[in-house]
């Protein structure tokens, strides 16, 4: 048993408990905070698997970006001073059964397979190799992701524009049509 094993076990524990609370905690804000635990534990597991670049990317994008956005969405859209963002437990019955069946299926497949020929990992630094892959065999996919990112951002800006401006835009478009 090495320190890495202890670290991985800790990540499993933290991630599992946090994911449980993310799914079941009645208060949506606490669920969001529990999500921090899951994401950080996945970052830790990336690190333990030798994917150091991915671990840092996971932290900087998920924790520094996406979670902030989620918290923003919670705080801006729910009436936080009345604390009324609660969830009733009945809604969880059917999804829980579905998820249990899914998990049982995954677990059965995983445990019934033969993993004896697993390779011994070598922990080379990954950032350089990933960079070469992104301009090598994955260049086209990378460009595709870039286009998706751009269109997604533009779409988000268009959707989130205030309604008044949207109406002005419609009127302007109509005028242009009349001309």
């Amino acid at each position: 048993m090495t320190l890495v094993d202890v670290f991985v076990a800790f990540c499993f524990l933290l991630g599992g408990v946090a994911a449980f609370f993310t799914a079941f905690h009645p208060n949506i804000l606490y669920a969001a905070i529990a999500l921090i635990g899951s994401l950080v534990s996945v970052a830790g597991l990336y690190g333990a698997l030798g994917a150091d670049f991915l671990a840092a990317a996971q932290l900087i994008i998920y924790v520094g970006g996406i979670l902030i956005v989620i918290l923003f969405a919670v705080m801006m859209s729910e009436d936080i001073y009345k604390r009324r963002f609660f969830q009733d437990a009945k809604k969880f019955v059917v999804p829980a059964v579905a998820a249990a069946v899914t998990f049982a299926g995954f677990a059965k497949i995983t445990l019934s397979a033969n993993w004896s020929n697993a390779t011994k990992p070598d922990f080379e630094p990954t950032a350089r190799a990933m960079g070469w892959a992104l301009v090598g065999p994955y260049a086209l996919v990378f460009q595709y992701v870039v286009v998706v990112l751009l269109s997604g951002l533009i779409g988000a800006v268009v959707i989130a524009r205030p309604a008044v401006k949207m109406r002005q835009l419609d009127e302007e478009l109509e005028k242009m049509g009349e001309d």
């Binding site: 150091d52 670049f53 840092a56 990317a57 520094g64 902030i68 705080m75 950032a127």
Partner: protein, 384 residues
Amino acid sequence: MSLAEFLSGIDHLLGVGIPMALFSILSAVIVLLLFAMPVGGFCTYLERKVAADFQERIGPNRVGPIGLLQFFADGIKMFLKEDSISKNADRWIYNFAPSLVMAGSFGAFAAVPFSAYIIGADLDIGVFYAMALGSLVSLGVLLGAWSSDNKWSLIGGMRGAAQIVSYEIPLGLSVLSIITVCGTMSMHQLVAQQAWPTHGGEGHFWNVFHNPFLFMNFFIYFTAALAECNRTPFDLPEAESELVSGFNTEFSGMRFGLYALSEFADVILFACIATTIFLGGWHVPFFNLQSLNVGLTVGELDLNPLVQSVLMIGVFLFKVSVLVFVVMWLRWTLPRLRVDQLMNLCWKYLIPIAFFNLIGAALWTWAFNGRGMLQLLGQVLGVY
């Protein structure tokens, strides 16, 4: 060096089992805190002295000679203050948020190269790691602000998070241009590349003088780092004239102390990163400290690395303290920006300029085969 390598390295080093390894990690954390706490505390003293100088006052002068021990008094006051929590505060998050901020700003110090021999962990992704841990700060600010159940706090926290997320982009772009030029993210190698140019073509001197684009990017980095640390002129999250004290209004005692300390730790951290990636770390002009040979030995032991380390740490900390002084200078010179001005500055000016510089730096590296201005000048003049 990857994380798994780092952890198993500790295992090999000790070879004495888990409890001992955990103990050593714990002691490293305690040493780090013992380093960061007095430095952060000393910064509060320095800030008050600088402020006093700018306003032609004397400043703290009662505790110790010229008030040098003032921060001890402040610290004791913080510890002894009543730890009040407002009735509707969300206790769990309220207790948890300051530690997130602490973890973000202190954890990143592990990757700072104080000398060629002293660095916590020479990670392969050093700069990226420091920035990633720094992103925990915005989360701590936002959660702390929300949990204290105060509208001023919440507005301050929202501003803080939005500001930090926005300014992370120009910050990341300016760091990215450095990575493009140097071809590495390891702090140690970044510093090693910035030596004074020699005949062998080793080193291109400080990155800030590598090419005009990096020179511009240094100022973009500095501006963005100011905003990341919530320092004036970007201290909107804690604007006293509008928001009482911003996101930390409801915090008292040591919890407030943690916020205040980690703000200074953040300033020092960004100054350390700026020094490392732009200002050449511990390198000085005209001379390579690592080739210094004083010829001192104690028995079998060569004292060279020790002497070099002391000089390197001196040079490094001098550069860092100059940057920190500039930060304090700006605080007492510039007025605060408005929110819309803040966002305009980031999205309409800093980000396009940083993009332009990134492309420019990449083209320069391609055109001159990675050589800096100083190296090219040396070639033209025939110095080497």
